[in-house]
Symmetry: C2
Subunit: 497 residues, 2 copies
């Protein structure tokens, strides 16, 4: 339910400046109505500070400077690599210079993956090279490559419906073109073929899989990303084709000809790597042991420089924390900035699933103090503006969230709902342990044009849109870290991830 006065405020003005001015007015009657169970438990001074910092961020931040520095000076930084270690040093140096407390790296061991040489081609009837990239975690082909008939399935359902006779001894192509969405919500639907396709093919005796990239662009830019092998199937090579190459294969197959293809990859799993989460804090003055997390992940895929995924998230949340710190405001709870390691791929040995290594390692390392985590948010969906806020908190915490919504509305951010399961990926393990869901949803309409490709570089970012993100993370951190509400819903929705 949205209160009338908030709705009135939002519709009463149509310029950003007017909305900013309206915020204090709107909130005051809500605060006065404490007897109605609407007290967010945040002091007027804290609210005023949140508003001031928010508006200051909208006048310009240093977020672009941080992502420019990270992507230029480090470049690609796969989980467990030397470049990712350099990124941790980069972060420690920056965060120490900014004056954060308790700047440190929490290292963890991991199993990683390394791309090698990779090539693919149509051999018959129309010989030509194909633009591919190996999927993260995939095994190599034999050194000489695989040459075999290529059987074409229009989508994952068609592959599932196929008998082993159609697949055995062959290479397999699976199509289905991902479509653009604002919220990225269908990534799970489109991504299934990437995560599960190889084992589905292998169970039917196939030699390797080439999927249409999980991506929405029309360039010769294959999209990598993690894949998984099921326990009950042989491990076979798995690569993604660019969308135009997938179109080409479908056009050829539509001619009713038998297609032969070649695939070679020397990708390999690498054991005994080290990664780490970089942590910096603004200590809480009342409840230093209680933690509000913001952050992004430091690692990236190897193909691009990880500007959108997730240099932007690192920069946005670093800058939000830096601006709070620089203001001299001392929050009630600790604001903990976590720049996560190895989100994209790799394996944490204590975990059942791959990926999210930093998030899993954090939960493992902090397993005796998990309930001290009040709320958390991760920025990991590119560099465009935030358009919606969603969460799943206790009734007790609703007034604080409603205050947050009121302060976010002037940024053009609409309230979503309180049944959300969305949270940044590195917080999924913590959410499985009990952390309430929370997300500041970015506009991702073109996110999957660049996601996990060589094209994820700095020129994708419009600096001004980062500033709006910084403003929103300031609001989140200031309200969550300064509200006197105790019960935010820990454990209430811990059944999913």
């Amino acid at each position: 339910m949205k209160s009338d006065n908030r709705i009135f405020c939002f519709s009463a003005s149509n310029t950003l400046n007017a909305l900013v001015a309206s915020v204090i007015f709107c909130w005051v009657p809500a605060a006065a109505a404490q007897e109605q169970g609407t007290d967010p438990g945040v002091s007027s001074a804290a609210i005023a500070q949140a508003v001031e910092l928010r508006d200051q961020a909208m006048q310009g931040t240093r977020a672009y400077e941080w992502v420019e520095s990270l992507t230029t000076e480090i470049g690609p930084r796969p989980g467990g690599s030397a470049a990712e270690a350099s990124a941790r040093q980069w972060a420690v140096k920056k965060l120490s210079a900014m004056g954060f407390s308790n700047v440190r790296i929490e290292t963890f061991p991991m199993i990683g993956w390394q791309r090698g040489e990779e090539e693919a081609a149509i051999l018959e009837p129309y010989p030509q090279p194909l633009a591919i990239t190996a999927l993260g975690g995939s095994v190599a082909t034999p050194p000489e490559g695989i040459e075999a008939e290529l059987v074409v399935f229009k989508d994952f359902a068609a592959l599932e419906a196929a008998g082993p006779d159609q697949v055995k001894g062959r290479l397999v192509y699976v199509g289905h073109q991902m479509q653009r969405t604002q919220d990225g919500s269908s990534y799970g639907f489109w991504g299934k073929v990437r995560w599960d396709g190889a084992s589905e093919v292998a169970r039917k005796g196939g030699l390797g899989i080439m999927i249409r990239s999980i991506g929405t662009d029309e360039h010769r830019m294959p999209h990598t990303g993690s894949m998984e092998y099921a326990m009950d199937a042989p491990k076979i090579p798995a690569v993604a084709l660019s969308n135009p190459d997938a179109d080409q294969i479908e056009r050829i197959a539509a001619r009713g000809v038998t297609v032969r293809a070649r695939l070679r990859s020397t990708a390999r799993v690498v054991e005994n790597l080290e990664s780490g989460n970089v942590i910096a804090e603004i200590p809480g003055r009342t409840h230093p042991e209680q933690i509000v997390i913001i952050g992004g992940h430091l690692d990236s895929w190897d193909l691009g420089t990880g500007a959108l995924d997730d240099g932007a998230g690192v920069a946005i949340t670093m800058e939000a924390a830096r601006m709070i710190l620089a203001s001299g405001w001392m929050p009630e709870r600790t604001i903990r900035l976590i720049l996560w390691g190895s989100e994209e791929g790799g394996v944490f040995e204590q975990a059942d699933d791959g990926g999210l290594v930093g998030g899993r390692a954090y939960v493992y390392a902090h397993r005796d103090e998990l309930e001290n985590h009040v709320m958390g948010a991760e920025s990991d969906f590119g560099a465009r503006r935030i358009w919606q806020v969603n969460y799943n908190v206790s009734d007790a915490a609703r007034p604080a969230m409603q205050l947050m919504e009121t302060l976010l509305a002037p940024l053009g951010i609409a309230p979503g709902d309180n049944q959300s399961s969305s949270i940044g990926p590195d917080l999924i393990p913590l959410k499985a342990a009990g952390l309430p869901a929370f997300s500041l949803a970015q506009d991702g309409r073109d996110y999957f044009d660049y996601h996990h490709t060589a094209d994820d570089v700095l020129s994708r970012i419009q600096p001004g849109q980062l500033d709006q993100n910084v403003a929103a993370y300031i609001v989140f951190a200031m309200i969550a870290a300064n509200s006197s509400i105790d019960d935010w819903g820990w454990g209430a929705a811990s059944d999913g991830n």
Copy 2:
């Protein structure tokens, strides 16, 4: 000078259909004014046929079908390659099935070039890979590659101004970002660093050159293209960086640090190759020996499937000729469709310069009958609509050109001028021999986004825009091949190319 009645017609209506209807009306008074030296020498029947075929083309053509077939079934087709030979067979089969006369391949020997493995990286201070591609004709690095300081010049002029002490023993980067234009006229300006950069570096003792791609996009798509070595300089490796990679190098250099880089390429020149021009004709009934040429080039760079460069030109001109043929119209002169071989690179041994091998070989093979060539046009600037017609003909031929302009105007094509030196690249050698300049200028605003990259594939083409091109080439061929004018200006402007 433009006649008033043509200007009146063009401005009197603002929809395509209305303009089409106005054409006959406009032209009739011009034809009636023969005593003013305005007789185009074209029969009313020929004009009516040109208009009918033009309008039929605007209702839909098969041009997209041809470019889909060529790019799907052949793929990339570098000059002198087996794939280019397959493209010639593809063309002969199609053209024979269409019923053209004298379908043949005029083969010629050539020296070609083959890409090998290629890689580049920044080694210090910020190690990361770079997206590069070797330039056509460039030599290999030593097998182990080159590792050296990378010196950064903002443009070709800065390189020219540099002393040998700045260059000697180093790798050289040269920037200067090409900007979009509608007519592509600044390609020569921006392209200079590609053609001449390596020798300029080599004269100063440099080890290799990495240029910012001659391209207008923002993707990790390096643009290849031919380069040339001067006689007075050692041959050194030459590659192009994608625009984002060039941005990255410039950002790093702006930090004032010393950059070390690595470059490796195994590209090589290949001797004793064969290419060919595919020729098909609609024989002239009055002057079969007099030739009007239309065409495009069959070869492409190796990175993409050559949909824009020049599958589109092949398809447009094939289809224009096919529609004239299929109509049963017998032109006064021979309409000769030439699908040129090895336009992009390679060397014809009898020529001084590289590239345009098919065009040079054609002039050499037909050296005893060059003056029989009346007019010629090549489509080789992508797949967007034509917006202007330009030429350089004799005064005697102006009435025919004015008629052509009148018939092109309903297609949204504006008259340019009669001092043009523009002509399709494969016709440059013939123009140097005496052929009058003529060009149907396509809208190339995004042509250099894709030009010579892996992204030059079928999805770049909007089928409807091909149809307008077909209609324009029909008009050109019908007027040039059916006018009784004898002197079109052969030899009048043969001093340039």
